[in-house]
């Protein structure tokens, strides 16, 4: 985009409206977050009643074996499911956007189903499937598998993979396929062309898809609850249980910790990105 201002640059009331709307949207997004952060320091068991400053909820979080193990289970599942869905999702996005093959239409349709299916339905589907699939593995192949972290991870991949594909594919569609040909013409192998030309350009899409997958995994309660087994209590499921027993600022403290952690992650990746592009290497 050119830097010079043009006649279409919003001005007057339009500009004022756009600015105001922008700030209001941010205010809307952050109001509950702000409240959440503030009340995580409240010395009262009830969220919403201010009871003076305290750090006791963070201490409780640090001490609670339950909360910590739920957090680590969640992170573990989120990490694995994100990595797997990013890899598989990017591959299939490439296949759909750059290749022709038999069964493409069927695949294309199948890809959108997990996005539009209601949570509960998918949860019930997977519950029925896993109990029978594991039984089948047991009786036919003699492999004994128990539900838990494994089945939850498999399920999370099943619903985030489509989102990754769709996001990456949109990015690929916006990228001239001549770039890849140019790379091949310049002696790159297929892999090198992907590695040095395609991937850097669709990286925002891959990152976006990955973040989406991560968010979905870290947020999911319904599906997790249905396919869980021993050791499979994730943070949202734990929080859901806590809420049933009363919403205490402990939940806020947990959320704040996760919020800060994810923000640090993003800031770090932005810094990395900047330093990399600054040095001017490919």
């Amino acid at each position: 985009m050119s830097k010079q201002t043009s006649a279409v640059e919003p001005h007057g009331w339009t500009k004022f409206f756009l600015h105001t709307n922008g700030w209001l949207v941010y205010f809307f997004f952050y109001a509950p977050i702000l409240l959440l952060v503030v009340f995580s320091f409240s010395d009262s068991r009830n969220v919403g009643t201010w009871g003076g400053w305290t750090l006791e909820w963070y201490a409780e979080f640090a001490e609670s074996r339950n909360a910590r193990s739920a957090l680590s289970t969640s992170l573990q599942i989120a990490l694995v499911s994100t990595v797997v869905s990013v890899v598989l999702g990017t591959m299939s996005a490439l296949a759909l956007e750059r290749f022709e093959f038999r069964g493409k239409q069927v695949f294309d349709a199948l890809l959108y189903l997990p996005i539009i299916i209601p949570d509960v339905t998918m949860a019930v589907m997977l519950l029925l499937f896993f109990s029978q699939f594991f039984e089948l593995l047991g009786t036919v192949f003699g492999i004994e598998l128990a539900k838990g972290v494994g089945s939850i991870t498999l399920s999370h991949i099943a619903f985030s993979i489509s989102f990754v594909s769709v996001v990456v594919r949109a990015r690929l569609a916006g990228m001239d396929s001549k770039m890849e040909e140019a790379a091949l013409d310049l002696y790159a192998t297929r892999w090198q062309a992907f590695r040095y030309v395609t991937m850097p350009q669709i990286l925002p899409g891959i990152a976006g898809g990955g973040l989406l997958a991560m968010t979905l995994s870290l947020d999911d309660v319904v599906i997790t609850q249905f396919v869980t087994g021993p050791g499979g209590t994730t943070l949202p499921v734990y929080v859901f249980g806590l809420i049933r027993k009363g919403v205490t600022p402990l939940i806020n403290a947990i959320s704040v910790v996760m919020l800060v952690a994810s923000m640090l992650l993003v800031v770090l990746s932005l810094l990395l990105e900047r330093s990399r592009s600054g040095s001017g290497t490919a």
């Binding site: 068991r45 074996r65 838990g148 087994g229 021993p230 209590t233 734990y238 249980g241 009363g246 919403v247």
Partner: protein, 369 residues
Amino acid sequence: MNTKHWLRLLAGLFTLTLLAAACGSDDDESSGGADCEVGEIDGDLAMYNWAEYIDEEQLQEFADEYGISYSLDSYDSNEAMQPIVSEGGSGFDVIVPSDYMVSVMISAGSLMLLNYDAIPNSSNLSDDFSNLYFDPEGGYSLPYQWGTTGIAVNTAVVGTDFPRSWGIIFDPAISGQFDGQIQLLNDPRETMGAALKYLGYSMNTTSEDELAEATELVAATAGRLAAFNTDSADEFLTSGETVIAHGYSGDMFVQFLETDNPGDYVYFVPEEGGTRWIDNFAIAHDAPHPCTAHTFINWMYGADQGAALTNWNYYNTPNAAAVAGLDEDLLDFVNDPAVLAGGVDSLEALEDTGDFEVNYSDAFVEAKG
């Protein structure tokens, strides 16, 4: 590999799966109890319990004592837990289903017959809990904790001069001035049950006429409510969102004690009667470590451990030997005779009504509008 081969393999797997589905659910695998010695351990403990219903330290103590490790996972409704266990392969040992769910799970073959020889402490069970409707011989379950469902009132707003009746919720003549500050549980059986009780019927009725009458009553009340809510009934009351609340005894007691002036709140089961519910220890039909499970239940049934459980979660204990070990302030709340306005006999347990469950669910949705 050839595409066709893949498809054939998938089709084969799929057919097998369906077959397994068709056969698997009819199997009754719960017949034989486990052959365990007292204190026998056959692996780590995997417990599946309601959230925040047991102190982790207590579990750790058990684990340390027997030199094993444990896992604790939680659910928030019987209905969420049941399919997990019933479908098999859950990997859980000890579970804590509520009364009606015990009978459902027995019928579904999801529970293991208990071997009482391995649970000598079961003699501590209070006599009030013999011959329970949902498990007449107690073959599959041992009560864990129990409580009631009733009404909590903020007396600072409502005053103390009110009838101890469901009418305080359902009769506008009594509570009309508090419209928009009343809450009912978001649970078809509890809420329809409360209305049925007020009308003088059984909360386990299978009469469509009686249910229709109750539906009308709830529908008429819906407009006067702040919310239908289960999770936060206690908090709404103490935060001032509501002044008359429908909720569970233990939740309410815990919440009262959290406030600066617990004396402002009162919990009671109306004179028409209310729900008594019992949560129970049970062992999953395919528990991987049945002996550890038995040993754990036996250990929990000791006097000290039973008291520790109640002192942590504020619900009533079915363990007669544990009563002596309960905290003083707890006894004031829990054992106050005024809590049960209609006496113990007015309490009723929610039973599984079989096919009629669907009617309850639909009636509730209809009543909410």
